[in-house]
């Protein structure tokens, strides 16, 4: 009798200890769909460029989690992101499909040639991250630090005054 009590008691205490550690490690972690979408979204580059055919990174993440899109549709993320998505979603790993865009393209930012800009304001709503500063009949400019390089502002411009330039202030570790 005593050994049974002793061992059960010990097991109980250890179980409590284990539970406490797990609790400390991940307070209230739920593995529901929204959490998974958040995790997938965190892996995406947030360029909001729409090259994946969805309207932004989060819609694409949602589609992936629901099985409506494949993991290889994000060219700005490159092959590394595709591999991480495959691992997270436990799907077969594959490189980015070039149909969606060039996964090896260097990061770019939009630049407005101000002498050509006529201040039409058409590019303003096109920018998914509101990184273009300007108003009707005033010259516009791009806030380079906020530009994700999605190229969505180029099409609406009637005078072709926006060009893509390589990133110069690449995330320098400070």
């Amino acid at each position: 009798m005593p050994p049974v009590v002793l061992l059960s008691g010990a097991a109980f205490v250890l179980a409590l200890l284990g539970a406490w550690v797990m609790q400390r490690r991940s307070p209230g972690e739920q593995n529901d769909e929204q959490t998974l979408i958040d995790q997938v979204d965190a892996l995406l580059p947030q360029t909001q460029c729409g090259q994946c055919t969805f309207t932004g990174c989060r819609p694409y993440a949602t589609a992936m989690v629901r099985g409506e899109a494949d993991i290889n549709q994000c060219p700005p993320g490159g092959h590394a992101t595709a591999a991480r998505l495959a691992r997270l979603l436990e799907r077969p790993s594959k490189p980015v499909d070039p149909v969606f865009g060039d996964p090896l393209a260097p990061p770019l930012v939009a630049y407005i040639l101000e002498e050509l800009c006529i201040g039409c304001a058409r590019c303003l709503p096109a920018c998914p991250v509101d990184a273009i500063l300007g108003a009707a009949r005033f010259t516009h400019t791009v806030i380079a630090a906020d530009c994700t390089g999605c190229k969505l502002c180029i099409a609406p411009c009637p005078v072709d005054c926006i060009e893509m330039r390589p990133v110069v202030h690449l995330a320098a570790p400070h």
Binding site: Q46, T47, C57
Partner: protein, 486 residues
Amino acid sequence: MEVTIATGRQRGVRLIGAAQRSAASAPSAASAPPQLALSLALPDGSSLVPVVRIGEYVRLGQVVAWSPDCEGTPLHASVSGQVSAIELRDAIGMSARMPAIVIDNDGRDERDPGLIPVADYTLRSAEELLARIEAGGIVGLGGAAFPTHLKLAPTPSTPVETLVINGVECEPGIQCDDMLMRYRAESMLFGAQVMLHIVGAGRCVIAIEADKPEAIAATRTAVKAAGDARLSVAIVPTYYPAGGERQLIEFLFGTQVPAGGLPRDVGVVCQNVGTAAAIATLIRTGEPLVSRLVTVTGLGVAFPRTLEVRLGTPLSHLIEECGGYTPDITRLIAGGMMMGVALPHDALAVAKTTHCVIAATAADLVPRGPAMPCIRCGDCAEACPSHLLPQELYRHAVEEDDAGLARFGITDCIECGCCDAVCPSQLPLVSVFGAARRQLQVNTVTTERRDLARQRFNAHTQRLAVEQAERQRRLKERRPAGRKDE
């Protein structure tokens, strides 16, 4: 060369067979080469701005480049002659080519007339001396090249009690500190006294490794001769990385420098012996930092020795001064056996950070077998001077788990190479950690940018929705109620 884990209180490794191959003769001055290239690169990857023009005649000791944002100290011409080019050149330890000032040596060593000694430093204020040291281009000569005037600058909140003069070679096999203490101990002590005057510390400890009896004897004699009660000599056991500033402080005083803090936080300022000697030269002769001691060693060079070398001297010239290469040279390394970097060619020039050049043969290098799986033996943790768990770091680095890397202290890794050297599975731990640390920094910035982009995108989408709703409401208002369209 053989590596074993250091036993005792200190964490690190002992290197057996990394013998001092450079001869024990007094360091002689290397001849000045016909052409020098003074690299403007700073350790953080930025560079100095030249203040001379191509074709201009410069004198020995004249400022040729300076740092407008005070990130670095000025650079001086190490010979007299004509500036023949200012161009991009390979620099030691830099992945990109960096600007350099090329000077054609006229061989006359004409001194800049502006170089004036300080007659009696005790009459000068700390600020004035610090300004002198800054103008003299003096940086830490132990290898890190941190500007000395910044390290000595007074901070009222953390008074300095002890000045440590670090005579512990950063890596086994390097001999410039040893040679300096053997033959220029008096000069070094004078520099130490100047620094004591500046920081107002009450005592100065000169730390020397136990396996350098000549240096210990010479320094003790000089201390006695100086008759300064503030100076004392401390013997440090021979292990690597005893010469690391934080490791040395832990050994000497039993206290650890807080993470992210400075030695000052525990009342200590640490300076290399070479820096002390350079300050002495500056105060006594007015000559700025234009040369330094460089150990040339390895089986790949005919007569290994420690030389006084002008900054900007090409390594090829330095090797020639030492009798040239032996036939079995396989690799040229700048720095020591543990942390040195392999060099692409020998046209690179000596900089303020260059303390050692190793012309290595196969016998100098530790042979590396193929990497095997980690068996968690824990030898790396036993050797780690930062008290990290390299086996855990490695696991998280392979899994690209940034949170895990941060939790196990990747940012506290000093990349000394001890774990790597003792790993029985021959894992390339240090290079993995270095890459992981840089990647972690990049990832942190990237994540910030991504979070910002996500926020702005959400705000943008919301704003468009609100505008859309507003437009529709207005449209409805404009139409009289009850009337159908069309």
